[in-house]
């Protein structure tokens, strides 16, 4: 049995990890591509930004439920996502993904394309160039995307409630716990829980500000 805070941190942490792994890969594939398939992929990745979370959660419930082929297959290999904390991780990963993709893609596209071209004439494979040139020069964008993703995942409510439900100690994350406390008229708990989330959010905001000014400082120096 986990407290809502620990559960929230675990769900948001794992969701951020997944969003970064898949988000960086997607950003790498989409960088400087403007073909029709790339545009479609871009739209799909960004859908969670505009879709109401409850709608997204409902789709996930339908897609991953035991009655869908995907849900049936997942069940046969022993993965249960509906009304489990793992389901909450899936929901949070999907809502966080576009934030990582957007921020990483912008950072990758800001890298001087001549660097990549020269690296190719120097015999390096595209993968090696991505790992040794592109990623090291874009890591601040990636980090910013990761922090945004974590904040978004931590606050996830609608989609999480739909797919993971509200099971205290198992799927009740902090935002859902706050809702529960208010419903039960337990304002003391609601205050404490809201303060906790606020503190985490402020800490994130401060580190992002710090990151932003460090970035600006580097640009100033590069001007030479």
């Amino acid at each position: 049995m986990l407290t809502p805070l620990l559960l929230s941190l675990r769900v948001a942490g794992l969701a951020t990890l997944f969003a970064i792994v898949f988000g960086v890969a997607i950003a790498a594939l989409l960088t400087r591509r403007h073909s029709a398939p790339a545009n479609v992929a871009d739209a799909v990745v960004n859908l969670p930004l505009v879709l109401p979370p409850t709608v997204l959660g409902y789709y996930l419930l339908v897609l991953l439920g035991a009655r869908s082929p995907l849900g049936a297959w997942l069940e046969s290999v022993g993965i249960e996502l509906v009304f489990t904390w793992q389901g909450a991780v899936v929901a949070a990963s999907i809502v966080a993904l576009p934030l990582v993709v957007g921020s990483t893609r912008a950072a990758l596209e800001a890298v001087d394309p001549d660097l990549r071209d020269v690296a190719r004439t120097l015999g390096q494979s595209n993968t090696a160039i991505f790992l040794t040139i592109m990623l090291p020069l874009a890591w601040r964008g990636l980090l910013a995307g990761g922090m945004l993703a974590f904040a978004r995942a931590l606050g996830e409510f609608g989609a999480t409630l739909m797919i993971a439900g509200n099971i205290p100690g198992r799927t009740q994350t902090l935002p859902i716990a706050i809702y529960d406390s208010v419903q039960a008229g337990d304002l003391a708990s609601a205050n404490r829980q809201a303060l906790l989330l606020t503190l985490v959010a402020v800490a994130l905001l401060v580190s992002m500000r710090y990151l932003g000014s460090a970035l600006a400082g580097r640009k100033m120096r590069d001007r030479g």
Binding site: D114, L115, D117, V118, L122, G123, Q124, A128
Partner: protein, 362 residues
Amino acid sequence: MTAAEFRASFSLHFPDFDLAPKFELGPEMAVLFGASGAGKSLTLRALAGLEKPDRGTIHLNGHALFDSEEEIDLPPQDRRIGYVPQHYALFPHQSVAKNIAFGLHDLPRASRAARVSELLTRMRLEPFADRRPGELSGGQQQRTALARALARRPDLLLMDEPFAAVEEDLRAHLREELLRIQKEFAIPVLLVTHSRAEAYAMAERLVVIREGQVVQTGSRDDVFRRPRTPGVARLMGMTNILQVTVADGSAPEVLTDWGNLKLTIGTPDSYATGSSLAVGIRPEEIRIAAAESQIQPANQLTARLVKDEPQGADHRLQFEINNQLLEVRVSHPEFMSLNLAGGQERTLTVQPSAIHVIPDPD
């Protein structure tokens, strides 16, 4: 001429621009010269394999790098071409030594280190081996980019406007250094510039590109003194282009009419009487007579000074004659001793040998 090391002839179509260069290079310092937007950088990128031509061939030392018929299109990784883009594109997060070692990933560690230290010495970069590119001067950055490109022992080196990011005082020195490096490595080096002075200072072979087409290639002096078209003539600074009619076309002194005036042209070729010719005269080949007594046996033209543009060391003067403007260039001391003033009529002299017949009037 020795067998060409490098041959390119390809076309690349864009909605608003057609690139179709064709030229050959030996192991020499070659300059790809043209105005902004003529397609110079794009040509380099296509040679390096960074842009794919629609059709044509690119051969280096007998191997096809690109051949649209044979469906050969080697990736940049396999072309053995060193490429230095305009602002060098040094990897900002890596030290000078790491930048140079970047292309040597397929060498064993020991020989990689040896190659890097050899290049650091050769390019006088040892003191800066651990510095980041942002901490280097323009000249040091250029040498680092060169060392990085040469580290893989390429068979051809391409450089896009290599002196653009360097202070003017340093350029002459860096040009000499680059010429020395070309001789040491004995590979064709193709350098892009839009500066006529730089083209003249560097080129053994000059490749002139205009609106995507190579309009003339040849030795530096051949292109500067004997441009094939009026377009090349203007690019080379042969700004005075006159239309004349042949009165007596037998070499070595062809007599022509330029409006009501007579011009004698020194040329090894004969021309049919009555045919019309385009001729070019470089502005520094026109002399202004100081006094009647000094006039040499040469073409004499009386013209009125209408404009004086001082340009530091010299003056660019415009004289009106025959309803046309002639550009004349004189040094500042000469300008002072001639007591020139606007509106004055003066006698201009041009040696017959300084008048060039442009073979392909376009």
